[in-house]
């Protein structure tokens, strides 16, 4: 074991004396220059869902809720003149569907939850991929 220690010590001394290989002067500067250039370039971040799509979804949900609201009021025998006027002016929304109230509330709640989740998922994604 002493013999092994002797050779180990010899090798250590030789290596310490010899030292390590040295890269060229300014090596650190070159590396940091590359890294700084990487940082300066703006990261082209594209949101998971584009803003205009979110606005479109939100508008669609609002209109759908309005439609359902109008439909429920008609069922109840009330005529909400304001909503009728709005819907009448938009001919394409003149459906002849009669949707039960409970169903419409479920749909509305589900859509609201979906909107909230989409926003939350977007925030989590931004946080993890910064």
């Amino acid at each position: 074991m002493n013999h092994q220690t002797d050779i180990d010590n010899l090798i250590k001394n030789v290596l310490k004396e010899d030292g390590l290989e040295k890269p060229s002067n300014g090596f650190t500067g070159k590396v940091m220059h590359i890294i700084m250039e990487m940082d300066v370039k703006p990261v082209s971040y594209k949101p998971l869902i584009p803003k205009y799509v979110l606005v479109g979804i939100f508008s669609g949900v609002v209109l759908f809720i309005l439609f359902l609201f109008s439909s429920n009021l008609k069922q109840a025998g009330n005529s909400s003149t304001y909503f009728d006027k709005v819907l009448n002016s938009l001919q394409i929304f003149q459906f002849n569907l009669e949707i039960p109230a409970q169903f419409s509330y479920i749909i509305t709640s589900a859509l609201i939850m979906l909107m909230i989740q989409v926003i939350l998922i977007g925030k989590i994604y931004k946080k993890n991929h910064r």
């Binding site: 180990d8 004396e17 290989e21 040295k22 060229s24 650190t28 590396v31």
Partner: protein
């Protein structure tokens, strides 16, 4: 203590202080460059590889979880990247066999009256180390110069710990053979 200092600079870098990374570059550049040289065999390729290693390290810093020492993690990147560069140049990392016999040229120009002293043994040992196979030189550098444990070396070069032990034993044997044959020559010269 070393790890604590590295950790401080790693955290600073991750918190947006890119300049803090230069401390780590300055500290480890020689070792990274040496390891790359041992694998790639020439200074130019080794320098390019060493630069790319640090850039890779910077990009992957978020993924460093502290389970191993930063140096071990960095040297592993160095090893893997250098091997990739070698492969991309369609080269293999040859482990050439040691030629145990000493070259007569080493003895012939020495005077018969000179006593071989420790200094000269060290010189011969240095030459012998340089003549080791590249993978053996790598292990010698990591074990003796850097003082890494067998487990860490095994992790860096992706072999089993037992294999590292065996290789180290072989290296010692080779170097001991050199010194033994040198002693024999000393005794012949002194007759």
């Amino acid at each position: 203590m070393e790890n604590n200092v590295d950790t401080i600079y790693i955290h600073r870098t991750l918190n947006g202080d890119t300049g803090a990374f230069s401390f780590l570059v300055e500290k480890y550049q020689q070792m990274v460059y040496t390891l790359a040289t041992k694998i790639l065999g020439n200074n130019e390729d080794a320098e390019d590889a060493a630069q790319e290693v640090f850039v890779k390290c910077y990009r992957a810093l978020k993924r460093y979880n502290g389970s191993a020492a930063f140096s071990t993690w960095l040297y592993k990147i160095t090893y893997n990247h250098s091997i990739d560069v070698l492969k991309s140049k369609h080269k293999k990392w040859h482990t050439t066999e040691w030629k145990g016999d000493m070259e007569p040229g080493i003895i012939s120009h020495q005077s018969l009256d000179e006593k071989i002293d420790l200094k000269e043994i060290q010189v011969l040992l240095k030459e012998a180390i340089h003549r080791l196979a590249p993978d053996e030189q790598l292990i010698v550098t990591l074990y003796y110069y850097e003082g890494l444990a067998l487990k860490e070396i095994a992790e860096i070069i992706d072999i089993r710990e037992n294999n590292v032990k065996i290789k180290l034993h072989r290296i010692r044997t080779k170097l001991q053979q050199l010194l033994k044959s040198k002693n024999e020559i000393i005794s012949i010269l002194n007759l």
